[in-house]
Subunit: 352 residues, 2 copies
Amino acid sequence: MKMNIALLAGDGIGPEVIDQAVKVCDTIASKFNHEISWKPALTGAAAIDAVGEPYPDETHSICEEADAVLFGAIGHPRFDNDPSAKVRPEQGLLKMRQKLGLFANVRPTFTFPSLIDKSPLKRERIEGTDLVFFRELTSGVYFGERGRKDNGDTAFDTMTYQRFEIQRLAKKGFEAAMTRGKKLCCVDKANVLESSRLWRETVQAMEKEYPEVEVSYEFVDAVAMRLVQWPNEYDVLITENLFGDILTDEASVISGSMGLMPSASLGEKASLFEPIHGSYPQAAGKDIANPLATVLSAAMMFETAFNLHDEAKAIRDVVNKSLAEGYVTEDLAEGGKAYKTSEVGDWLASNI
Amino acid sequence: MKMNIALLAGDGIGPEVIDQAVKVCDTIASKFNHEISWKPALTGAAAIDAVGEPYPDETHSICEEADAVLFGAIGHPRFDNDPSAKVRPEQGLLKMRQKLGLFANVRPTFTFPSLIDKSPLKRERIEGTDLVFFRELTSGVYFGERGRKDNGDTAFDTMTYQRFEIQRLAKKGFEAAMTRGKKLCCVDKANVLESSRLWRETVQAMEKEYPEVEVSYEFVDAVAMRLVQWPNEYDVLITENLFGDILTDEASVISGSMGLMPSASLGEKASLFEPIHGSYPQAAGKDIANPLATVLSAAMMFETAFNLHDEAKAIRDVVNKSLAEGYVTEDLAEGGKAYKTSEVGDWLASNI
Ligand SMILES: CC(C)[C@H](C(=O)O)[C@@H](O)C(=O)O
Ligand SMILES: CC(C)[C@H](C(=O)O)[C@@H](O)C(=O)O
């Protein structure tokens, strides 16, 4: 297969972890007889510095033409604590999501047996956790009308949803549930919000198309509790943009494997794959960042964007092997030898 | 002191736990020479059944005239999974908050040494946790304009904040910080929401009035993570209504003492005290519910509404004694003898 993959390394540790994913993907390509053509493009603070814009048009064209996008991380400390900065890396992220139509953010949370004791939660609470969030990513309060009134003394944001936006997201959730545990939880705040009531009625109307899926409806506050209590009771969760932002981050801590969690953002055509961790500026340039989440995001890419399951499995297997053999970066070394980011990438590539 | 206290038992286990708090308060009153006049009033499903309204005008008058309100719990299963029901117990709650002007919901999370192992989190993560949320309770997306458009296919909710609403809430937070660890965290989503930017700029402008307080600003998604990772690093957290709903519930699980957590809701004049747990309908009428959260809410009432610190301390001491001696309900019995709700209330009253 020929694959055109846009490569958005971004800021901080982004370029370093992306490099390792490229090594791994190139090895997979040569073993499985594929041809990858990488199309690097600027994004985030790096793009602001170069062209004054966190998601330049040229980057957008490259992403649109590509078969998939592999993304590192964006964000730079000089923009933090300055929410009023005119141009911010995060704006690029939001613009990219919207322009590429990436309406479904897929965030799995699962446990690695060898890392389970790194969780802040007790082992018996999290063993067997294997859940996945489908967060709506191109609507809701992120993209509604906002502004000021009364000489700046009143501020407002609008949380808006259209039925089709809920349907297309829920469809992805239902389809995933069918290939997994056949359980779907719709997370909303239908006892208060009109948009949540539209979510609930839309999902209720879709239930009959998936008679095998057991559907539940829970309020977002209850889920915020139950995620910490019994995360292993969940299978697929679907939710709107802001709730998803909060809950997927909460869930990422639970497994103890936060530094390893991949994610996908899917549209009707485009798809993007990225680690859930941030740009971790303190570690940038030091060759110490853990590349495994990015490598596992590449596995998600093979599976989801190209329907190549053996390739994905080969990547997951070699990641598991690196964990089992302790060929890992300092965050996972636990007193054992810590390897460099680039060493881990080389080891993965040569052990596939 | 003479005290008029409105007594809103509500639904489910509400009446039973409220009864025990009344026993304890009456004992405190006689020991410390106070006079309490209890004014019972209907609320929740109980009020819907009686007068068709979850927060009847008569109840509102009683609350308005009282020096404080002691509240049990509301909510009834026959309203669940029917978000479109015309009259719902929760509406009473929102109406009450708004009509009484209870703009600050105060939710402490702390650990009881004897209960720490009940937490889903590991002991070393939570030991020493003693944080308090100030959640804005009468504005934001709970009370903004909402509705449908496009023949019902589009739904919207509006998150609105005015500067003075943020100021009065933040003031309570700063004042609490001054009596505690002198740390305040403003939780927002200022990288996306205009209302959050107003929160941040308003709180920033107040910093100079409290030079001793160390103020930080964190995004809600980051706090959802850090609360599970290192809850003991927080002191006072202030936040808007919806974020507070989600995060206070998340935080309540952390301490392992969820069934024991009290809360206060404060206005310029009115104040209301209630356990954070719900109406727990499965246990209603069985005399098995844990009354300690309600009893501790009464302690918060003596302290906050009446400035009576010795009385509050006497209540907390006897609660600690009941925990230490295992005179507790089944949820805390851990294989030891389980006492009835009413027995625990009697024991507390006679051991003050
Ligand atoms: C950076 C920020 C705008 C973004 C979001 O809130 O969506 C981030 O938190 C995320 O979850 O990808
Ligand atoms: C019942 C519901 C409307 C309420 C809220 O969201 O405020 C509850 O969750 C709470 O936190 O008191």
